[in-house]
């Protein structure tokens, strides 16, 4: 096999996250994660977090790529309890278990994530109002701590380590194995109902109505149009189809298309976003539709185009995702949407979702309220946009999602995160020398880079 056979594209190796924001450094692909985690500074799965949480603090840091650590340790098809190495991907779990009538209790919007990443981000999905975060279904973790020791942690064994690791961005220790419970599904099909919604207040109301009726809800919302069209969109609700509703055959295996080129940076601008949004909105010309669909387009619409992040061009992009507490009401959500839309920086990708009660992960993102996620290309003004949105979110008592973040200031994060002292105490206990670190922990927690 030829090593470095062809000339390198970049003279300095860089690691890039999904938002294409890059740092100098390289990852170390390993088959034996348990051995390789010894002395490492950061574990990295598929690099699908948007911001800088999977990027090294320093170019000499040892970053372990976990994605080849993909072995199943044990599985009990009766109870659905699966224990696997941290690099096993959700795509693999779906491929193996959907035909078997089992599905992950919580899935994020992409299947290209590893189990370790799902734990580190404590991911949530369309069913958050029913099932909570992924961490609520994790029974145990095997971890490598900074001092080199191996520990088995669970809600009853070293709970501060266990809950600190849920949503802890990989900073308390390397996750080596994850044990969680798969849920039975009646069929491999989804019964979906979608509804065109004309404005923000109606959207909030419809989301509220759908939550008790449907186990899964999410909305696409127009973050570009102002005036009476502000907050129009499409609400999607779904559930697993019962056996007698579903076709006798399983859905076709997903096939993806690649994105062979970077779009020019100018391709995605306010005008093209406005055009796309209007077309996308009116494509759903009926007020409501029902359909039996495959789980792939329902859960992972963007996975159909591999490397869709190239649409944003070489400048890269960030996702701003925050949650605004229910107590602040629809007024606060409208105020947020107006501010966001007036900036004119939003792309067509904007998702709104009802979150259920806060979970037990020390730094886990969701809390009871409305979550809004919007992609924005990186531009000269991006820092100012993020700062102003953060100031608004702090005033509502909400917070942002670290997995998506690359621009939040440390003082803003501290202001929106009353649970931070508990997390810092856990870091002090399990990694007093701060061996585990990332570009994000340098930015937000003030870790040293040397």
């Amino acid at each position: 096999m030829p090593p470095s056979a062809l000339p390198a594209i970049s003279p300095v190796p860089v690691l890039a996250a999904w938002g294409r924001i890059a740092k100098p450094g390289s990852e170390w692909l390993v088959d034996d994660l348990e051995g390789a985690s010894l002395g490492a500074n950061l574990s990295r799965g598929l690099g699908r977090s948007y911001g800088d949480s999977s990027l090294p603090a320093s170019c000499t840091d040892r970053v372990v790529a976990t994605r080849r650590a993909n072995r199943i340790v044990s599985v009990d098809a009766g109870t659905g309890v699966l224990r696997a190495e941290a690099g096993l991907t959700l795509a693999e779990i779906n491929r193996l278990f959907i035909p078997r009538g089992l599905f992950t209790p919580v899935t994020p919007g992409t299947k290209f994530v590893t189990l370790g990443g799902m734990v580190a981000s404590d991911v949530h999905g369309k069913n958050h109002h029913v099932e909570g975060c992924f961490g609520a279904h994790v029974r145990a973790l095997k971890m490598r701590l900074a001092d080199g020791s191996l520990v088995e942690t669970s809600p009853s064994s070293e709970p501060d380590l266990f809950y600190g690791t849920l949503g802890g961005m990989g900073l308390l220790g390397h996750v080596l194995e994850v044990e969680f419970t798969l849920k039975p599904i009646a069929s491999p099909w989804i019964w979906m109902e979608s509804q065109r919604v004309t404005g923000l207040e109606e959207f909030m109301e419809s989301l509220g109505r759908a939550a008790p009726a449907w186990p899964m809800t999410v909305g696409w919302i127009d973050c570009v149009s102002l005036g009476k069209n502000l907050g129009r969109g499409i609400l999607i609700a779904g559930r697993w189809a019962e056996k007698d509703e579903a076709p006798p055959v399983a859905p076709d295996a997903p096939r993806g298309w690649g994105m062979p080129i970077d779009f020019p940076n100018a391709a995605l601008n306010h005008t093209s976003a406005l055009l796309f949004n209007t077309a996308y909105y009116w494509k759903h010309w009926q007020r409501s539709r029902t359909a039996l669909v495959s789980p792939e387009p329902f859960f992972y619409p963007l996975d159909a185009v591999h490397d869709w992040n190239r649409v944003y061009g070489s400048r890269g992009f960030t996702q701003y995702q925050c949650v605004i507490p229910r107590a602040c009401g629809a007024v606060a959500v409208r105020e947020f949407m107006e501010r966001l839309t007036r900036f004119g920086t939003a792309s067509p990708l904007c998702v709104i979702k009802d979150c259920g009660p806060e979970g037990k992960g020390t730094l886990s993102f969701p809390l009871e309220g409305t979550s809004i996620a919007v992609d924005m290309p990186v531009s000269a003004g991006i820092q100012r946009v993020v700062d102003q949105l953060n100031e608004f979110v702090i005033a509502t008592g909400g917070r942002i999602y670290l997995t998506k973040d690359a621009f939040t200031r440390p003082e803003h994060f501290r202001a929106m995160e009353p649970r931070l002292p508990a997390f810092e105490a856990a870091r002090e206990k399990y990694d007093p020398s701060r061996r585990l670190r990332s570009a994000q922990s340098v930015r937000l927690f003030g870790d040293r880079t040397s």
Binding site: L6, D31, D32, R68, I72
Partner: protein, 255 residues
């Protein structure tokens, strides 16, 4: 299939073993490192059980292991005996194990070069001879060996490593010519750059492949009894060009 995989705990071998277990083949792992062998065997057992929709491990396909070290030819016979005993006479053998080092490292450390060439060529050939004798005695079977595109032409960045693989490819070709009519299917796999632990730290060139797609290509080639497979497939075109490049160009370029 009742398959023995030497090197099935990591990289392309692991991906291939997983695919085979999932489709119901009985897999017996050979390799070094008892902990890794046990972990991989448990993974394969779980995968075959899920795919077979079996409730307990009792009805699942067999997945067990034995230690076999390419550096120690005396382990070959006993390891294959163990595989035969567990599987009830295997009918397919896959060899993915090998050593790897960069040209610079090999030039700087001739003891390492001697070791690598001995393992990748001489010992691998001896292992294949053990397998050949057993398979021919039971009327045939398939032998799949991972060589490399590095063995197709003497090239600057992979001269020493590639020379071992060239010898191996040469041997495998002769095996195919001599024993094809007696029922021995010999498959020479020539991977291009594949992103595994073996190539960790090296900058992936264009057309770099993933172990899963390599596993799919190899499994298809085994089933169709193909003699040589390049994977990812684009490498057959790349190497076609490289094989025809005149010497004065090969002296100039770094490929």
């Amino acid at each position: 299939m009742k398959a023995v995989i030497l090197g099935g705990t990591s990289g392309m071998g692991r991906a291939l073993a997983q695919r085979m277990a999932e489709r119901g083949d009985h897999v017996f792992l050979l390799g070094i490192g008892e902990i890794e062998l046990a972990k991989s065997a448990a993974d394969l057992a779980a995968r075959s059980r899920i795919a077979a929709k079996a409730e307990s491990s009792a009805s699942a396909a067999l997945a067990t292991w034995a230690v076999c070290d390419l550096e120690s030819p005396e382990t070959f016979g006993p390891a294959l005996d163990a595989a035969d005993a567990a599987l009830g006479n295997f009918d397919a053998v896959v060899v993915t194990a090998a050593l790897f080092a960069t040209q610079a490292a090999l030039e700087a450390d001739l003891e390492l070069a001697r070791r690598l060439l001995t393992v990748n060529y001489a010992h691998t050939v001896v292992f294949c001879e053990h397998v050949r004798q057993r398979l021919l005695a039971r009327g045939g079977g398939s032998l799949t060996v991972f060589s490399s595109v590095a063995g197709d032409r003497g090239r600057k960045p992979v001269g020493l490593y590639g020379s071992g693989k060239a010898g191996l490819s040469h041997y495998l070709e002769s095996l195919d010519h001599k024993f094809h009519d007696q029922g021995l299917h010999v498959l020479t796999v020539k991977p291009g750059f594949v992103k595994t632990g073996m190539t960790a730290g090296l900058k992936p060139p264009p057309f770099a492949g993933e172990p899963e797609s390599v596993a799919d290509d190899v499994l298809r080639a085994i089933d169709r009894r193909i003699a040589v497979v390049y994977t990812p497939r684009i490498w057959s075109l790349v190497m076609l060009v490289i094989r025809w490049l005149p010497r004065f160009i090969m002296r100039k370029i770094g490929f």
